[in-house]
Amino acid sequence: MNNPRAHNTTASHYRHISLVLAGFALLAFFLADIDITTRSPGTELGRILAGLIRPDFFATDHLLQATLFTLSFAVQGVALGAAVGFVLACFWHYRSVRMASATVRAIHELFWGLIFLQLTGLSTLTGVLAIAIPYSGIFAKVFGEFLEESNSKPAQALARNSGPLSTFFFAKLPLVWAQFKVYGAYRLECGIRSSAILGFIGLPTLGFHLETAFRQGDYSAGAALLYIFFLLIISMRGWLHARLIPIYLLAALLYAPPLSSNTGASLWRFLSHDIMPAPLRSGYSGDLTFSRWALDLVSQQAVPGLVNTLVLGSAALLMTGLIAIMILPLLSRHFSGKLVRSGANIFVIMMRTTPEFLLAFIFLLALGPSMLPGIFALALHTGAIIGHLTSRIADQLPIPSNSARGLNRLSFEVLPRVYGNFLALLLYRWEIIMRETAILGLIGIPTIGFYIDSAFAEFRLDRAFFLIAVSVILNLSVDGLSRTLRNRLRLHA
């Protein structure tokens, strides 16, 4: 900064934004409740370890069924999400489409699940829609941006009188089709994860038994479920081929038809009564006014929830960055041999597959109740993903074999060149971290997700709906801020 020539270089921009982010996150750490208060975690942690070493694959009944449901919901949900997202992407230039997509993806699939439990009950349809709706928003955004960024020359070369449809199918779609397919495969992995996690709220997927097993201290059964889950994700490369997808989809539809026995009555009741603020309902007999209701909700739940979510999310962002940079050399061919890389790769897959909920539960036992378990859980998960993606970019860099080694190579050769991508990924993940704090609410960390979960537990759907709307506003703001920063820095992941 002291050197006048250093102004307005890419490096100075990066430094600037990194300092601002780190400062913000350090402030968050300062504000966050991060005391370690545990006393004798050894026994329970030992039990978890014993469970992980000796998984019991026969402790859970209907294990195959749970696995098939997990896959069925995921395949159907992702397929529907991709189809709707694809249609939306064609209208990506409309602001309203962009806003609608951003809104549906700002709501965590768990909350979509809790909403649809009211409407379509414990049915396949609930599982499919809880995945398809947020995913359609994500697909719309990603597909829309692919189309926007695609080369416009072929379209310009078409005859003047070509209609918009033929332009789209002959001059636009072919350019991005391959990208669509790669992204779709990645989303299916996320979909399997989402599908499993929907078990936490009662759908019959692997998460149903996984959560019960860990919550009840049956760690051998829990470990077995976790390993099956890892296996599903790791083996995807072997069974996921484009031409097999229609067969999988058909099998999923046959195994778990997306039907629900509930009728339109529950939808009407939901809209006209359940989500209506209690004082505004017909037949309300209490003495609350709407403004009192809203004020109490904002001051007692929304504001503390938002503050905690922001503090936790920002602290987790900093730790995510640190973990990603620490993992990077272990994953990259510029630093590590094959053995270390494979080991690190397994670790990364495990971290990004294990539901944050489980990581947070283990840290809660080890460290005691504060924000620390949540911060560690989110940061390990996201740090593993960013470290993995950054290492793939780093591996493409040509680095002369006679250049510096070790820490010097990392600090002066590799990091400066991948730092733009790294920052872009981090900023891009910020919104996702915020959204994932929701799940930590389920183990009692008072994020906005905690209050939403409480409202559902108390059957105060009006409050739940209001708080979900508040969390949407938070996520949209973080998304907007992150996009502004990325655009200003011209960052691309």
């Binding site: 006393r39 201290g217 059964a221 229609p246 539809l253 108390e458």
Partner: protein, 287 residues
């Protein structure tokens, strides 16, 4: 390929629409402990009920108390084994439903307050005033023994909401998790269903050098069976009475072990008025 898909889809829809309405009587239950193998254990209960009632009976597993109430409200289940609080919540959601039976033990249920031994607290007959300012964990948010009654006694004795009375308040989600968290010292004090504590103690899962009971709450009513009011119109007049009689008549220890209760005794909605008022007094239900 796609053509096949379309044909199968169409067939599927036709099959789904063409099925005649043959009502299956469906129930759900979450035991207060050991949720492993629910389908197997309650499948036996379903078979038993089916035999006694002469209609097809199905059990569906649910994850949480809230999910059980939602399923009951949506008529996905017509009969449910609820906790004290959730039963009240369910009857508020489905106004013509009624409590028909409770567990024998549920007539005099208690919660235990347990503490990590580093707190120096020991068992006493009086409410442990010294827990003020410590960290405290409840069980599930909708649990009667893990949340409602403990919170009531805390407010009564400490004169403050838990958030203000304790340094930290958690919701472990489950009685076993509460024990694990207090035993590890993550929380200093917790409240737990007495049956779960006794059961885990008997199984040797609890290290009493680390965690012990410091107070037993006064007695209250807990788990009970609730049936929807419209069952008679689907399964015939007197059906809900028949369900009640069947539940009260269960004496097969294997069936009872699923809950686990020694027997069921008659109950009605009025029995739970105190639970309703308690929930209202701590703000869990609107007045």
């Amino acid at each position: 390929m796609y053509k096949h898909l379309a044909v199968s889809l169409l067939a599927l829809v036709l099959v789904a629409c063409g099925q005649p309405e043959k009502p299956t009587f469906t129930f759900t239950a979450i035991p207060d402990q050991d949720e492993a193998r629910l389908i197997e254990r309650f499948g036996n209960v379903a078979d038993y009920l089916s035999k006694e009632l002469g209609v097809e009976v199905k059990y569906i597993p649910v994850k949480s108390y809230a999910a059980a109430v939602t399923a009951f409200r949506n008529n996905e289940v017509q009969l449910a084994w609820f906790g004290g609080l959730t039963g009240v919540q369910a009857r508020l959601q489905v106004p013509d439903s009624s409590a028909i039976a409770q567990g024998y033990e549920d007539q005099f249920f208690v919660s235990y307050f347990i503490a990590h031994n580093s707190t120096g607290l020991s068992e006493n007959n009086e409410f442990p005033q010294d827990i003020a300012g410590k960290s405290f964990t409840f069980g599930s948010k909708g649990s009667t023994s893990g949340r409602l009654m403990p919170e009531f006694f805390i407010r009564e004795s400490l004169g403050d909401a838990p958030d203000n009375a304790f340094s930290r308040v958690g919701f472990s989600g489950d009685h076993s998790a509460t024990i694990a968290l207090v035993q590890s010292g993550a929380y200093e004090v917790g409240a737990v269903n007495y049956k779960v504590w006794e059961d885990e103690l008997a199984q040797g899962k609890i290290d009493t050098s680390k965690v012990s009971v410091i107070w037993k709450t006064p007695e209250y009513l807990d788990y009970h069976w609730v049936i929807r009011g419209d069952t008679d119109s689907h399964w015939g007049k007197g059906f809900s009475d028949k369900v009640q009689a069947t539940l009260l008549g269960i004496n097969d220890p294997e069936i009872l072990a699923a809950f686990p209760r020694s027997s069921f005794v008659a109950a009605n909605n009025d029995d739970y008025q105190a639970i309703l008022e308690t929930a209202q007094s701590i703000g869990l239900l609107d007045q």
